[in-house]
Symmetry: C2
Subunit: 662 residues, 2 copies
């Protein structure tokens, strides 16, 4: 009789090995961190004597689930903001909060909270990607879970690095220190093709190859990503990253929602693993990954939850069920991705996708003892049929819940017994997490109190407030203005021609001001659109003052480049109404009596407001403003404008009045 | 101070009323079966004094979920067979088992088991459709749940009725007896347009209208249903049922996966409710219902689990999350069906879809006290944000689990406290359910032991075994046979011309015999396909005997009309190989020496086997067989066949040999 540490008996053993061996009653023996034997109970009992024998009470004994792609510290952002489009969610909420709060402390707490949830739901191994990844690794190892921990590298500054060189160096240090750890496989994560430069893709792949650790990335998550990639680089996502050397490393590619068969072949030949994230892809409306095809091709497709801020949980029982469901509906074939395939994806294939197939993912002699017990007897899973060899898999996939997991072992160590966590103090974690949530709430609530602070929260270079002297008249005919500009009293510094497309956002509280989204199209000498630019301007309500003849000292303004779409800002700022305004503007910078002025000749077509002449000049003091106000009056008269026709209302007020808005 | 029976305090009250009022801390008062008041705790405490006060510990207090479409007794068939196409699942497994096992006892037990699961997952009301529905009603009322119980009526015989008239009469009796019950709304369920005649649609609608009870049905579940409807009746499903008077009743229509905008308008004007069943529609690959559009139209769209044999559970937390998910992915819009909408569908809209909106579905004064407590503090739902008024809804929809429901009250009565069921003995139910499963397993395992018993299990008229005398020769040229048939020694009774498309199923155990799926195309006088017919023939392995000159007494055979597709039989019988065989057959029934014979002149094109002449005659005794064997030999010689070229192998054996199969 061979001596072992532990003998698990009286179980329905689902090995999840290649032949899907199952034993009932089955038994498993464990010594140290590893599985010694798996088989029918009678055989195992006849061969092994154990220091400790544990009766599994007829439960399912199977390998723990492998969560193939997640961002565990984001448990602290769970439910922060939902039902938003990806960009609004990410740039409007998640990134501003991450910039403010993400720290080693945040990351360790988030990881511990995630580990509690992961253990409770039967996960024994996961692949993570976040910032301060070494802290993720520390917290994970303390909780006793197995993980691929991938340090994010991207072309922007991030909560843990000012530049990509910094995060790449941090990744190298981390990998050097942790390589060979019993539980943690250190790794590097170039975030995605569209957030990395070719240089980053190549450098991270070389780093991963140098240390023979996995490289973790996001590939082809949305159709927009693929569309942009084709537009900008003339090829789909997978060939692009191959071109830049990514497959020099052993890759774990998350999502792969929009990949074609050629790309699947490339992934296969590169030995890459794929992480399928059904909840996240559904919730963010990214699409449904072609899993049936990928499995047919022989790819190692695992299943992941993605981050708990876009899921909103880490429940692999839900994911494995969804993996089966979405494959069926997207192919129209209810027989595709049956329970056996889905559960294999969540265990053995997932481990292989993480390049840890030699260590975990199935119950086989020599592999690490990463295993769970699942109770199939609750009311929601009764009764049990045995006719078909696949009945038990269907029970686990289609009716089991995370809460049916009673016991979890990783690397030979129990992390949960009878639903009691053994390595984490859950009550303490919950209290600390709630404190963070309170601080984040306070930060966001404060920010959301004004349009200005929401604008500032987006980041980017908000310019200083600007003040202008301005005067405006309605014209019956713009031709005389252009003639007058040719006279020697006016020196023209330069001339511009634009189409300006404005959208004014109004808010229920008028004191918030108006937010203008302007797209300038610069018209070139041949009438072509030579260039374009989008800007946001927050226009305060209060006019600073006025002068004779309706010369105004303009409102306070905040300017910011508009890097996102009009739709983004509409969903982010949630205006009560939006007024569009399109005009053709001829603009001159002129020097008149030794003073610079902008002369704008504006023609409105939509709505049809006619022609206007506007004179503007920047100013910085009351006396300067008074002097310029007087000169502006002279200039407008010189250009043929009638001082009796000057107006103070903004164009959008004229347009709004015409449309009956405000 | 007004006196009430019960005051629930210290809750996050989500009323799910039209304005989505929420109160925190909120309170609810109950007297008898009804809600007296809902509001901020301070206001409620100032107005009411209660016999009993219960502190909800900060949990969510909300209306119970409404499961808008299910078949509760089918809990006893959960996991019976999965990952199959609808027809194989239904006709191959579910219906044979139902024919054998469904009884009042089965239905009561299944309902009680379902009620345990429903209560545990926070459901307070459901809409059921099954057989012996009065027994469903009894068991439900005993468990204390609210339900619309709909007696199925369909054009076939069913486990509880030999004819539709019987089930219609049963429905009438049931409705008469139960109308006005505090918990049960009796109802009638014409199963679906394709399983009912126009007469049934009209009769059930009139019955429902007469008693002003809901009518529950399945509409437009699959694209095949819609396709067939258009082909057979020239219109989509909704106009068809309207034409046959279905909307004279207040309708609850399950599925509506494949309805267009015109049909949505019809449903709206008819005041019909819709039950959306995301899990079932995904798992059976039926498609994704256009919920965003239906909600925009103002339809009352509830959410249902469908039966637990096609889901495989009754978990409304999973369904509500999926309702949000699938709407997003199918529209490409992550903002559609946000958490508030999904949860409204699962509560207030669901109650309205069941035509019980006046009684339940929201926490409002005067409605019945149907409410649940949900704990938002488990690790998988922490932390909690409060910035957005919708944060709590997102927590319930995107991260809560059925197991987070701690307490359930229906009609003012507690059914669960601290996860302890108060009206059902769960252990007893589980044991009884397992007994049924064991009996069903035995039945199916026995059946699956032979191809014959699987064939018999499909039902339909299996014909008796048949015996034939037969002789067959290969021909170099078939023309002389046709000439010989014109001679007076042979009297031709009739002549037929077919194309015969055969598929032979082989099984790993040769003693099972071969199953032939034959499609006969009858060719008319102008060469057109005049008619077609499909038949299954199970051909035994043993030849019964032989005579001189290779005359055979044929194998035992079982015949059945093939009402399902070739694909169905392939998936149901799972042959190890399938051999196709196509031939053109000219067949004559002739009288030769006062005895009837079939003369077959067969020409094989695929595979190219050439021409054969076959003589057959039915027989019933050894002496009759001997006489016919002798006559057949004479006839084949008369027709020009050479007795030296007779063969005993079946065509498929010749073809299989040619192809190297077997």
């Amino acid at each position: 009789m061979e001596q072992v540490d532990l003998l698990l008996t009286n179980a329905l053993v689902l090995t999840m090995d290649k032949e899907l061996h199952q034993y009932e009653p089955g038994a498993v023996t464990v010594t140290g961190d590893s599985i010694v034997a798996v088989g029918p109970e009678s055989e195992i009992r006849a061969t092994y004597s154990a220091v400790q024998v544990m009766d599994c009470g007829g439960k399912v004994l199977m390998p723990g689930m492998v969560n193939a792609h997640t961002h565990v510290p984001m448990t602290l952002l769970r439910g922060l903001a939902d039902d938003l489009r990806l960009d609004v969610w990410l740039m409007g909420y998640v990134m501003p909060v991450e910039r403010e709060f993400v720290s080693p402390d945040f990351v360790r707490l988030g990881t511990r909270l995630a580990c509690a949830e992961l253990i409770r739901s039967g996960v024994t191994c996961f692949a993570d990607m976040y910032y301060f990844e070494e802290d993720v690794a520390k917290a994970t190892a303390e909780a006793g879970l197995r993980a691929v921990c991938s340090q994010t590298v991207l072309k922007f500054s991030s909560p843990d690095a000012d530049s990509y060189e910094d995060s790449l160096a941090a990744a190298r240090d981390f990998i050097q220190r942790w390589k060979g750890h019993a539980l943690i496989e250190p790794s590097v994560a170039p975030h995605a093709p569209y957030t990395c430069t070719p240089e980053i893709l190549r450098a991270t792949a070389q780093l991963a190859a140098e240390f023979d650790v996995p490289l973790h990335t996001h590939l082809a998550e949305t159709s927009l990503e693929v569309e942009n990639m084709r537009k900008e680089n003339g090829m789909p996502v997978v060939p692009y990253v191959r071109k830049h050397g990514l497959f020099d490393a052993k890759v774990l590619a998350a999502h792969c929602v929009h990949v074609d068969e050629g790309e699947m072949r490339t992934l296969l030949h590169a030995g890459a693993g794929v992480a399928h994230n059904p909840s996240s892809n559904l919730k963010l409306a990214s699409g449904i990954a072609p899993v049936t095809k990928m499995i047919e091709f022989g790819l190692n497709v695992g299943i992941g939850t993605d981050g708990p801020a876009s899921n909103n949980d880490l429940d692999m029982f839900e994911e494995v069920r969804l993996a089966a469901f979405v494959a069926k509906v997207s192919t129209g074939d209810p027989t595709t991705v049956p329970a056996t395939t889905a559960l294999t994806m969540a265990t053995r294939l997932g481990a292989s996708a993480l390049h840890l197939g030699h260590l975990t993912g199935s119950l086989e002699a020599g592999k690490r003892a990463d295993l769970i017990l699942v109770n199939l007897t609750p009311a929601h899973n009764a009764p049990r049929f045995r006719r078909d060899a696949h009945n038990a898999y269907a029970q686990v996939v289609y009716a089991s819940k995370a809460s049916d997991v009673s016991d979890v072992m990783v690397n030979g160590q129990w992390l949960m017994r009878n639903r009691q966590l053994l390595t984490l103090n859950e009550a303490e974690l919950l209290a600390q997490a709630q404190e963070y949530a309170h601080r984040i709430d306070t930060f966001l609530i404060e920010r959301e109190q004004s349009v200005l602070s929401k604008l500032v929260a987006l980041g980017g270079s908000i310019e200083e407030e600007s003040f202008e002297v301005q005067i405006k008249v309605k014209l019956a005919d713009p031709a005389p203005v252009q003639e007058a500009l040719r006279r020697p009293e006016v020196k023209i510094v330069y001339q511009r021609h634009y189409h300006q497309h404005d959208n004014y956002f109004y808010f229920s509280d008028p004191s918030q001001g108006r937010l203008r989204y302007r797209e300038d199209e610069f018209i070139g000498p041949k009438g072509e659109v030579a260039n374009s630019r989008a800007r946001l301007t927050l226009i305060g309500t209060a006019r600073e003052g006025g002068f004779k003849h309706n010369v105004l000292l303009s409102r306070s303004r905040y300017l910011a480049p508009a890097t996102n779409s009009l739709r983004f800002y509409r969903e982010y700022f949630k205006p009560t109404s939006v007024v569009p305004l399109d005009k053709v503007r001829l603009r001159w910078l002129v020097n008149f009596q030794d003073t610079d002025f902008y002369v704008n000749l504006d023609h409105f077509e939509n709505p049809n407001l006619g022609d206007y002449l506007e004179i503007k000049s920047s100013t910085w003091s009351r006396s300067d403003a008074e002097r310029k106000a007087k000169l502006a009056t002279e200039l407008i008269t010189f250009l043929g404008g009638s001082l009796r026709k000057t107006i103070t209302r903004d164009y959008v007020e004229i347009a709004g009045k015409k449309k009956g808005i405000r």
